[in-house]
């Protein structure tokens, strides 16, 4: 069965800004619109906050009154993807697949606050119902009127890849004609605490994704959605997701990773995962990383996928990542070089030892 899917629209909101133009700017090396401190949390761990103010362009403010951050991010990403695709009518032939690493973590902790402060009998029903992992996808479907299948996935670092797998299969089997597939994660003070305990204070030099012996990751947050349809075929030029493969790093053969594409590695400054990329990727492969643009969070692969669409449309490589990289190990194309004809591969490894490879090209 062919499970190929064409990308019709992109919606992104991250620390670099909101929308396709901001994403293009980030890929071209433009200064980020926000950096350093998370305005929402006051946390200085280095997370670049995502701004959801433009959500009011799409949804009545009244409907957003009690909506938490992760639902706002989700609806914003999906709305932007629909607008980018020029889709005005949403119906039952559209599905939603939403990936999230930690789900509505802020709301979950808010629910804990409700009974820690006032006793079990005073637990907040509103916070509880919004703390369930599929609440963002449900809010998205409710506000945008998407009545097709609705799926939420939580698989940490390979969440977004797993979501792409299912979204492409839905299209291939004819379950839907369109899928909004995306990844969303939020940052907050408790995550910041865990981050500092696990990884120490942020590296003042910033993220150096391919300096693999150094822990330089910085947390991020945001929402990235793609609107997928079945490929039109024929002579139309379109960006296509060819396949999603998943497996375990341990035991994977070198042949599992193609050497004829630009590989966008999920390497985001985490030393722990760096060895897996070194193990999997054929020596001398053309690689780049983009995580320094949006920070480190489980579903950042959704941003890599959105960026890959723009790169494939433009046919050029992005600015290489900051920091040193072993020239014997990696080939980092300079900005503006032609992309390999075979296209792009997105490679992400997880802390649990899985990898996910998504192959994309332009027809």
């Amino acid at each position: 069965m062919s499970a190929r899917a064409a990308v019709r629209g992109i919606g992104v909101a991250g620390g670099f800004g909101t929308g396709v133009a901001a994403l293009r700017g980030a890929l071209a090396g433009a200064p980020s619109g926000s950096a350093g401190q998370n305005a929402a949390t006051g946390d200085a761990a280095g997370c670049r906050p995502a701004d959801t103010a433009s959500l009011a362009d799409f949804v009545d403010r009244k409907a957003l009154r009690r909506m938490d951050t992760i639902s706002r991010l989700s609806i914003l990403g999906a709305s932007l993807a629909l607008r980018d695709a020029g889709v005005e009518r949403v119906d039952e032939r559209m599905g939603v697949v939403l990936a999230t690493g930690y789900g509505p973590s802020g709301t979950t902790l808010g629910f804990l606050d409700s009974f820690i402060e006032s006793g079990d009998a005073c637990s907040s029903p509103t916070l509880f119902s919004s703390s369930v992992h599929n609440a963002p996808a449900a809010n998205l479907s409710t506000l945008l009127g998407v009545t097709g299948p609705n799926l939420s996935i939580s698989q940490f670092e390979v969440s977004a890849s797993s979501a792409l797998l299912t979204a492409t299969l839905w299209l291939a089997e004819g379950r839907v004609d369109r899928v909004l597939v995306g990844g969303v994660d939020e940052y907050g003070p408790v995550l910041g605490y865990c981050w500092r305990r696990l990884f120490g204070e942020p590296d003042a030099a910033g993220c150096h994704p391919l300096e693999t012996r150094r822990q330089s990751a910085r947390p991020g947050e945001g929402s990235a959605f793609l609107l997928l349809e079945r490929p039109a075929g024929g002579t139309a030029s379109e960006v296509v997701i060819e396949t999603v493969r998943m497996g375990r790093v341990e035991g994977a053969s070198a042949a599992a990773i193609p050497a004829d594409r630009l590989l966008i590695l999920g390497a985001d400054g985490h030393r722990r995962c760096a060895a897996a990329y070194e193990r999997l990727v054929p020596r001398g492969s053309a690689v780049t990383t983009l995580g320094h643009l949006w920070g480190s969070f489980p579903t950042a692969t959704a941003f890599d996928a959105a960026a890959a669409v723009l790169l494939l449309q433009d046919g050029r490589t992005p600015e290489p990542p900051p920091g040193p990289a072993d020239p014997e190990r990696w080939h980092l194309p300079a900005a503006g070089e032609p992309l390999p004809a075979a296209g792009i591969g997105l490679l992400r490894v997880s802390g649990s030892g899985e990898y996910a490879l998504t192959l994309m090209h332009r027809t």
Binding site: P125, S130, A135, T147, P149, S152, L165, R197
Partner: protein, 399 residues
């Protein structure tokens, strides 16, 4: 929509309050027994003691019970997986040579169930990260794949109470697409204070044993457990001489897009999920021998679901088994799919324990006592928070 080829169910594992495995649970349900109790693993400050269907420690293999590095949810999933693989005749070495996907549903297994950690953090302390690290290790699909050293796709479905049903439907599509050669599909969840407080706060929890579809129903009882199905392509199962216990013939899902916790009053999404499931199975409503209903015993769920069942399947017997297991959330769809297969095998369904008085608002009544059923096809359906609805059509297997 294409009509997909079926997936063979070659093994089933199940652990829940009704029994340590599927056979024990079916025997227990046939006898009509149940004994929900107030929770024993955690204390609560509620003035009423809402009963739950906990899994006794004695049901959990000793080596897994001692694996406190993993959430209990994950240990349930591993226990059910072991049973399922043994039932399917797969040994560990042979399995490692295949491409094996793991698709499991959960609710608690993906949530930040870190109350003690958070209390200390709130109080200005520097809590140890053990609870966080346990959470990170315990993602159900990743943990099962890792513990068994499997190689293939992993997906933890977090669609609230339809997660287990969705996971089975998705895993079947993986097989059809060649994403893997064997799929372990199901769901797992454990009881915990956070969820317990949450459901009580919504005022949909009964302080007595639950009464699905009964006129006097007041709400659900929470439960816990896991079920895992081994799915294979029918030709692959036949080639290795495996018995096919049942087949996944169809799957459908749709979203109400209506409300976070209440079903659409007319069951809009549920009707569409049923329609898709029947269409993909290539059957008509009249072909369905029985339905294992979601039947949580909440007023809203049973009213909407009962009306839809009455409209779409007026002659088809249905049962809610949640009176025996409690509502096991992300595991429920998988446990009930396992029960559905077992009922197809025996040709009978248990009675809906707790049901005694028909609700005139529903116009449909579940089987109140064990019932002989005729036919080769059955349905298990799930409704969920977020307006998700998921339906599996299951067909009789080799025997």
């Amino acid at each position: 929509m294409t009509r997909p080829s079926p997936a063979a169910i070659t093994g089933i594992g199940c652990i829940c309050a009704a029994g340590r495995d599927l056979a024990a649970a079916m025997t227990s349900m046939a006898a009509g027994g149940r004994a929900p109790q107030p929770p024993v693993r955690f204390a609560t400050g509620h003035p009423k003691r809402y009963p739950v269907f906990g899994v006794p420690d004695a049901f959990v293999p000793a080596d897994l019970l001692g694996r406190t590095d993993l959430l209990l949810t994950t240990r349930f999933a591993l226990a059910a997986t072991r049973q399922a693989l043994a039932d399917a005749g797969w040994d560990a070495a042979a399995l490692r040579a295949a491409r094996v996907g793991v698709c499991l549903g959960t609710t608690v297994g993906s949530a930040l169930n870190i109350e003690d950690f958070y209390r200390e953090h709130r109080a200005g302390g520097e809590p140890d990260l053990e609870a966080i690290e346990r959470f990170l290790r315990s993602n159900p699909a990743a943990a099962v794949s890792r513990e068994l050293a499997l190689d293939g796709p992993v997906q933890t479905v977090v669609n609230a109470c339809s997660s287990g049903t969705d996971a089975i439907g998705i895993a079947a599509s993986w097989l059809r697409a060649g994403a893997c050669d064997v799929a372990l599909a199901g769901g797992a969840d454990e009881l915990c204070r956070i969820i317990y407080n949450g459901f009580i706060s919504l005022m949909i929890t009964d302080e007595h044993p639950c009464r699905p579809f009964d006129r006097t129903r007041r709400g659900l009882n929470l439960g816990e457990g896991a079920a895992v199905l081994v799915l294979e392509r029918p030709a692959d199962a036949a080639a290795r001489g495996a018995r096919t216990r049942a087949k996944v013939l169809g799957y459908g899902s749709a979203c109400d897009a209506h409300h976070l916790t209440a079903p659409h009053p007319e069951g809009r999404g549920l009707r569409r999920a049923f329609a898709e499931a029947l269409a993909t199975a290539g059957i008509a409503a009249g072909d369905v021998a029985f339905i294992n209903a979601h039947g949580t015993a909440t007023p809203d769920n049973d009213r909407v679901e009962g009306r839809v069942l009455h409209d779409l399947f007026p002659e088809t017997p249905f049962v809610s088994t949640k009176g025996y297991t409690g509502h096991t959330l992300g595991a429920a769809g998988a446990i009930e799919a396992a029960f559905t297969v077992a009922c197809l095998e025996t040709g009978s369904i248990p009675g809906s324990v707790g049901f005694t008085e028909a609700d005139p608002e529903i116009n449909a009544t579940p089987a109140a006592a064990p019932l002989t059923i005729r036919g080769d096809v059955a349905i298990s359906d799930s409704l969920a928070f977020g307006g998700n609805n998921a339906v599996l059509v299951l067909g009789r297997g080799d025997r």
